[in-house]
Each structure stands twice: as C-alpha cells, then as structure tokens.
C-alpha cells in the first residue's frame, strides 16, 4: 500500500483526500501557497510544505515545486485532486519519471482524452455515439448534403476554433449559404484558417455523466450516473444521482457505452464519461474527465463506495474492491455547490472573513468544506466554499432533506448563492425532474425575483 501521499491541491478536495488517507493509515503531505498559510488542509495533513507564492502559476501549477516537495518529504505517491494539474499529462509523466506513483491515469491516456478531435475519432472507431457531424466542408453542396444527413438545426464550427469564434447556428437550409460564408470568413479572420465543419445542435440537452473505475488488471466498472444539468454558464450548480431522466433500461445501455469508452483507451483509476442527451433520449459522448470530480460525493452516497479510497487502492496496484454486479445504487443523493458569489450583483465573487458559520447536520447530510470560523477564503482561487450533500430513500425525500439542510446553513461574512439553490428546490421544473441545462438561463430572473420578494436582506442569511 502507499505510505505517504503528496496532496497536490487545496480547499475541500485536499481535505477529502487527507481524510481518505487518514482512514487508510497513509501519511499525507499538504502543499500550500503563501496565501493559504491559514488553510485547513495545511493543518490537517501529517506534514505541510510551502511551495510558492499566492499566484497559482508559481505554486499549485508548478510541476517542479510539487515534484520537488514530494521527493523532499519522502512521498511515494501524488494525488492531484481536481483542478490545477489534475488533468495535465506532463505532470503525470513528471511524477512517474521521478519514481512517484501518480494517483490517476497515465499521461498517455490523458493526452488521448484531452485532445478533443482525437478522442472523438477514437470514440467513433469504437462505436461510441458522438454528436453527428461532418468532416471539413469543401463547398456549399457538401455542407447542404451533410446538414440534411444530420438534420437541422446544425452548428457550423471552425476547425481551428474555440470560444464561439467562427461558430454559427443554422436552423434551415435556406440560411445555410450565408451563415456558412460568415462562419468561414470569421474563422479565417480569427484563426488564419477558414476551414469549417458542421455538427448537429443538441437543443436544451441534459448533461449526464457516468462514474468509471478501472484497475491495473483491465477491470472497468461504472458506478452509475450523475445528472449535472443544473448549470449556470456551463458551471455546475447542483448535481444528483441517479438521474430522473433515465429509465433502468437506458441507464444500463449508457453505462455499458461509458465502460466501452473507457476500455477503448485502457482507462485506469477514477474517471468520468460525459454525455449530452436530447429530449428523445438520444445520447452522445462529449468528453472524458480523467480525474476525481467535484460532484463525486453524490455517487459515493448512493453506491456506498469511497471513490477516493478506490483511487488510492488502484494506484497502489490493488484490484477494484467491487465487481459490476456488486454495485447497487440505493436511494437518491443531491449536491448543492455553495460559492462565494453574490447572486444579487451578477454573481460577482464575494470576499470576506467568516465571522460565524453553522453547517447543517443530522441524518443523511454531509458537508465537504475547508471553511472555519475566522477563515478568509483566498481570493486567488476557486469560489467554491462548500458542498452540501444529502442522501435519502427517494428523490422527493432528498429534495426535502436538502431544503432542510440549506435552511440550517449559515455562513456569515460574505455573500453566497445558497438562497438561489434553496429556491431552485421549490421550482416546479426542478421538482418534476424535467429540467435541462437551460434551466438557469430561463428561470434565474424568477428565482432572483422570489428572493427579492422574500424581504430578507442578502447579508443576513447564508
């Protein structure tokens, strides 16, 4: 087994890893920047080392500092958590080259899955459904033919593109020539390359992801799905497991595809296969995340499997502790992300010192946070300050339990999104379980209005 693990991250996920290690009698070395001198992960680890200044590029993103810290402190493994270098193939390789066990997949696997077009090609060859689309378009005739094949609406995208540049949404064949020319012109102007392709536009999809575990012996299982459709500007806000949108038959089919996708790259350790699903229950692979995810607790709650423990076991060369047949999904779990941001002011980051806090507790409630009274979350890093997770026997019971938990939550010192999350738990679309990734876009104004009408000043409650 591993003896001493360098925890190459900060915040609540660093604590999550330290806790798993502590329970497995593995020593931990925390790393921190000068901005994190007062952080909890520094205090709870067996040992801690200051690796650099507050700027992440010179501390948590410094491969040299992290590998050096691991070697100087006598670690035999490195756990990257999420964020920072967790999906950096070069960092995984640097650890391995230095004789350290990287708790995650090999660099080569990350490289394959990190390259969007390479991953897409591999999935197509493997028979995993990807969003239907074309290759590079030669002329308008080909564009028309391809658009008819995949069906409107379609998205025209720049081959060299990103960030929405050179992208056009086409709803019918009449507007195709103009929009194609516009997209190609913009692509040429922005990237010096006018090549474009088209892809079927999945309207108001649901975001469904499957948790994967793979060991060194080639065994790959899935631990059910998470529905992460509740998002704001592509940032997940609330997650649940299982998904209300999946029938048992669909779940089994998607799970098998997720395992197939992971097997195609010879996946090892914990990972997540992400799909979008349209209203006709057609689902398409979008990407694979090669790390532990923020929302992993909902899977832990319904499966009873400690995913971080499994990660450490896999890294140590042990086989998975469960078979696919032994994995049972029991009840319902919801997670709410509590961010230090102010919904009343455009979700601007909010900073301050925690003057007082009260965390929810009681049956079926779990809180993962690195906050404590007197702590000032560093403005240099992520705005996620806590994750409130509940588990109950049914979805409705879980929703009721989450309402109760958020009522108990008090964080006095800065604004959070707690009340928006709380009000979401009363929204008819959320209750019906029919919400999609467009929920917040459509309903945020209503939720803010409900909040304003409540008459409670934002400073007075969590």
């Amino acid at each position: 087994m591993l003896k001493r693990v360098l925890v190459a991250c900060r915040g609540e996920i660093a604590l999550r890893i330290i806790r798993a290690c502590r329970e497995m009698e593995i020593e931990t070395v925390a790393v921190y920047s000068t901005a994190d001198r007062d952080s909890l992960h520094r205090k709870l680890a067996t040992k801690a080392m200051c690796i650099g200044p507050e700027k992440a590029a010179d501390s948590y993103l410094s491969k040299e500092a992290l590998v050096t810290a691991a070697l100087l402190s006598g670690c035999d493994a490195v756990h990257p958590g999420y964020g920072f270098l967790s999906e950096n193939a070069d960092f995984a390789d640097a650890c391995t080259d230095a004789g350290l066990t990287f708790v995650g997949p090999r660099g080569a696997i990350m490289r394959t899955m990190g390259d969007k077009s390479a991953a897409r090609r591999l999935m197509r060859e493997t028979g995993v459904p990807i969003v239907p689309g074309s290759g590079p378009l030669e002329d308008i005739a080909e564009a028309r033919e391809q658009a008819d094949r995949v069906g409107y609406p379609v998205l025209i995208k720049a081959s060299a593109g990103g960030g929405g540049r050179g992208m056009r949404c086409v709803t019918d064949s009449e507007s195709l020539p103009d929009l194609l020319a516009a997209a190609s012109g913009e692509a040429l102007a922005c990237f010096g390359n006018g090549e474009v392709y088209l892809e079927k536009l999945i309207e108001n999809p649901r975001h469904i992801e499957f948790q994967i575990l793979g060991d060194r012996f080639g065994t790959i299982v899935h631990v059910g799905e998470r529905d992460c459709s509740m998002q704001r500007r592509n940032q997940k806000l609330m997650e649940e497991s299982p998904s209300y949108a999946l029938s048992a038959e669909l779940r089994a089919r998607m799970g098998a595809v997720a395992v197939q996708a992971a097997r195609a790259v010879g996946y090892e350790n914990a990972g997540t296969v992400e799909f979008v699903m349209d209203s006709q229950e057609r689902f398409y692979f979008i990407e694979m995340n090669t790390r532990i995810q923020v929302e992993h607790p909902v899977t832990e709650m319904v499966s009873g499997i400690d995913l971080v423990r499994e990660q450490l076991r896999i890294a140590a060369g042990l086989p998975l502790s469960v078979t696919q047949e032994q994995i049972r999904i029991d009840g319902w779990s919801i997670e709410c992300r509590i961010n230090a941001e102010d919904p009343a002011h455009g979700f601007l980051p909010s900073v301050g010192t925690v003057r007082f806090m009260h965390l929810p507790a009681g049956p079926g409630v779990r809180v993962d946070t690195a906050l404590y009274t007197g702590y000032q979350p560093s403005p240099f890093y992520d705005s996620l300050v806590a994750k409130v997770i509940v588990h109950a026997s049914s979805r409705l019971e879980a929703i009721r339990r989450m309402r109760r938990a958020l009522e108990e939550l008090i964080i006095d010192g800065f604004a959070t999104n707690t009340r928006i999350a709380y009000l979401t738990l009363y929204h008819p679309d959320y209750l019906r379980g029919t919400y999609t990734t467009s929920f917040m876009e459509r309903n945020l104004d209503d939720l803010l209005a409900w909040d304003a009408r409540s008459g409670v000043p934002a400073e007075e409650e969590g």
């Binding site: 000068t34 080392m49 690796i51 650099g52 200044p53 700027k55 040299e64 050096t68 402190s73 240099f380």
Partner: protein
Amino acid sequence: MEFDEILTLMDRFSSSACTALKLSWRGDTLELQRVTSPPMPERPIFPRSHDIAPLTADGTSAPISSVGAPATSTPGPSPDGDAASLITAPILGTFHCAPAPDADPFVKVGQTVRKDQTLCIIEAMKMMNEVTAERDYVIEEVLVDDGAPCEYATALFRVRELPSC
C-alpha cells in the same frame, strides 16, 4: 534589612523624583534604579518600506525569482522578534551553502557581500538555482543547515544591510 523595610523603601523610591538609589547598611546592599522612558528600539519597529514583502492583492507579491534570479530580502518573524532583514528562499528545494560538497561555503557569518553575489544554491528537480544578494549586506546568521530541505519563503540568512555608497 527586613523584607518590610525593603518594600517601604521601594514605595518611597517610586514616589520620589530620584532615578537611582544605592544603599549599603549593616552589610546589606540595595540598589534601585528607575528607567525613565522605555529604551528606544535599535531599529524602527516597522520595517522600512523596501524591506516589506509586497503582499499585494494582484498576486505579484512574491519575491519569487525565475531560475537564478536574486531573492528579495524580507522581514520575517525572526526568533528574537527584531526587524532584521531576512533573505528568504525564492523556491522550494534543497539548500546548498557551497558550490560543491567539499568546497568552501559561498558566504560566512560576518562576511560582507556585494549586490549580485551568490549566497547559496537551492536545488530543485536536479536544477541548481543560485540565490544572489539584492543589495550589499553583512551576513549575520545562516539559518538553514547545508543539505536541508527548505520550503518556499523559508528564511535562509539574517543580514544587516549596508548603506549604499
């Protein structure tokens, strides 16, 4: 002299205008002295501005240097609480006081070093990073043992700054 008598003398002394009293009586000697004002600190309580590590919110604080660049001196919490300048580690790594295991150390206590002079080496990822003086200093103390691991911002040397000429 009885104990009560001493206490009485002390009371009288403190209410008087005397600043010192020396009394020899029947073989006993008593010496009392009043400190009129607290002694002036040798150095200003607040470090001079250029000694302060600029911990600004824009994240540029850091006296971190790219490989081989000079470390900045910062006032740190030195053990005796004075505001002596400290030279801190610009990166995390292994501290080497000399260029080679058998060689003489780069600097010794009491030595005067000039700006840009090499003070030590910090080894990270098999790279030898020289830490150089940012100004002219007298080395007052070497705070880290040769070959010891040092974290980012660990105090390496206590120095006294020389007036620039």
